[in-house]
Symmetry: C2
Subunit: 347 residues, 2 copies
């Protein structure tokens, strides 16, 4: 047997390879393909934290019996502004794909609509979903809880999730304006990297188990992370728990952590809320094309040297779509190992 | 003539007094009454920055010819999820009151609806509007641009407004969960207070006209304020420009500043976007009452000693509704002067 070598794959080939790995590990074709599209998009955009690195967590979640490998999402559409998809305990990816066309249709019909995803496991960034909607000419907001690792500002105990908040605005002929950020000041993985490196974390990232500020990564991991932006970020994170958990009848971050049996190396179960806005309906024929006026603003931001969010990711995508996606020998070996051993490859 | 004395007024009496001042200064009854309700609510909640202090700005805006004193807001409702109110160049307060019942009706009918206010002048906090909707049992998000005083993170020039973002969740039998914050790290008025006191501003609040970080309030006022929470807050502020200005066909913060002829002591003209969510429709009969589940989360926040936003404001309201609203002799003298001299009292 030859050792895997570094390789350059097309997006289609990488998607097929990841689909194959997930399918062999036990995921039904619909679940495997939707997950693979998202994971390959992460690699395409050089967003390694949401690329093939996530495959192991998918397999671990299945091995722990915390996700349904063959879930068929069920779509409910009526004449309201709310489209619902029950993920039936599968990953959010297939559920989003099942609901996105109806969400776009409702947003165009009514001007504004929401997609509620219930009972899904979540492993992905929100920007792939946002960019599906901006590609339809819609503006979009997405949010979901996570599992409890963040103390509310002024508190000391993990209660909120890292609760991502994402937004997108379509830019005709250009990549969309997209942001997608955790409402914690840092990601848990960043603290873990400091722990492994033996370096202190910056002040303001976390508190220890007694609620005192700490720069010790061990103490931080045993304590709680902090929200970005002080009480304002804490408020946004709380809003996400209320709208994208309590309101939609799905798990809050403390409930999601309990569902995981506190095993935070697997994908949490919760819901998701996505809002889609039809700019033409909102502009309603008032003077000035909303897309052109948005360009004036965005050009003025970039014109003073401020970075637009997702710019690096979109630049990486341009390169990957021309030149392919480069994976190291170690990454190819890891994919090979996961493909051959499936659930036995993860603990 | 006797000198005005300190006084304790009922909410109704203060509202009537402020209405009278605004009416005598030239505002039509509908504009005066709606403004007065909001201003009196600010005093009731000990939110002095949005109380009677704002009356002068209302009068200055009228004196400068930048607001229509007799505007009658026009409401447009159709079978979509978007309710529109054209403020006709008047203040937002009367426009919101004209649109709120239709917004609530649409949100209950469709699950989710939006109120777009166009061509309004804006002097108020967003929480009075949010609390009107939570009193209807709805969750709500409100946002609007302002006038360009904030540089995007990584930039150096004023471009974004202080762009407030507000949210509310109804708590049956209790005051709602409400936040309402500027997306700048500090309010412009706070920097002005440091300038008057001759004290430096904290690091991270502002940059000077060359884009360099400064703690000098004079340099900050000549430069630009910074968004809260670094690039994340900057992104939220940009989202507000896109959704609540470009998308709804109304002025962005740079355009609003131009409309003011750069006079930032008067109320800016722009639009506003308010989203209303019907929790029962979103919960759709899933297990667990959304309001009860929200209480579990909010109790867990307060239970670890973290402050819920608006708590101080709601406590002040309880006191004011029992004991009346206390105004100092200087405040009563100022109200008397404004009542007697109208537009001549302001420059």
């Amino acid at each position: 047997m030859t050792e895997p070598q570094a390789a350059t794959l097309s997006l289609a080939d990488l998607t097929a390879l990841v689909t194959d790995i997930l399918h062999r590990a036990g995921f039904a074709p619909n679940q495997a393909a939707a997950l693979a599209r998202t994971i390959a998009a992460g690699e395409r955009d050089a967003c390694k934290s949401h690329g093939i690195y996530r495959i192991e967590a998918c397999l671990r979640t299945l091995k722990e019996g915390k996700v349904a490998a063959d879930a068929v999402p069920t779509l409910t559409v009526d004449d309201s502004a709310i489209v619902r998809v029950d993920a039936m305990g599968g990953f959010a990816n297939a559920a989003f794909e099942a609901g996105a066309p109806a969400l776009a249709e409702r947003a165009r019909a009514l001007g504004l609509a929401a997609l509620v995803i219930n009972d899904c496991n979540h492993i992905s960034a929100l920007w792939p979903e946002i960019e599906t909607l901006t590609a339809e000419g819609l503006a979009a907001i997405a949010m979901c809880p996570s599992y409890a690792t963040v103390a509310p500002t002024g508190g000391s105990q993990p209660l909120l999730g890292t609760n991502p908040f994402a937004f997108g605005w379509p830019r005709p002929g250009k990549h969309p304006y997209v942001f997608d950020f955790a409402t914690s000041v840092a990601a848990r993985g960043e603290i873990e990297l400091h722990r492994r490196a033996g370096t202190p974390i910056p002040e303001g990232w976390a508190v220890d188990a007694q609620g005192h500020p700490t720069t010790d990564p061990e103490a931080a991991l045993a304590g709680a992370m902090l929200p970005f932006g002080g009480h304002k970020g804490s408020a946004v994170s709380t809003m996400i728990e209320l709208l994208a958990a309590a309101m939609i009848g799905d798990l809050t971050s403390p409930e999601a952590l309990a569902f995981l049996d506190m095993k935070t190396t697997i994908a949490p179960r919760h819901g998701e809320l996505i809002l889609a806005f039809c700019p033409e309906r909102f502009a309603a024929g008032r003077s000035g094309d909303p897309f052109a006026r948005a360009e004036t603003l965005l050009d003025a931001i970039a014109g003073q040297g401020a970075r637009l969010p997702s710019g690096r990711r979109h630049a990486a995508r341009e390169t990957a779509l021309k030149q392919g996606i480069r994976l190291t020998a170690a990454e190819m070996a890891q994919l090979d190992r996961l493909r051959r051993h499936g659930l036995d490859a993860v603990s």
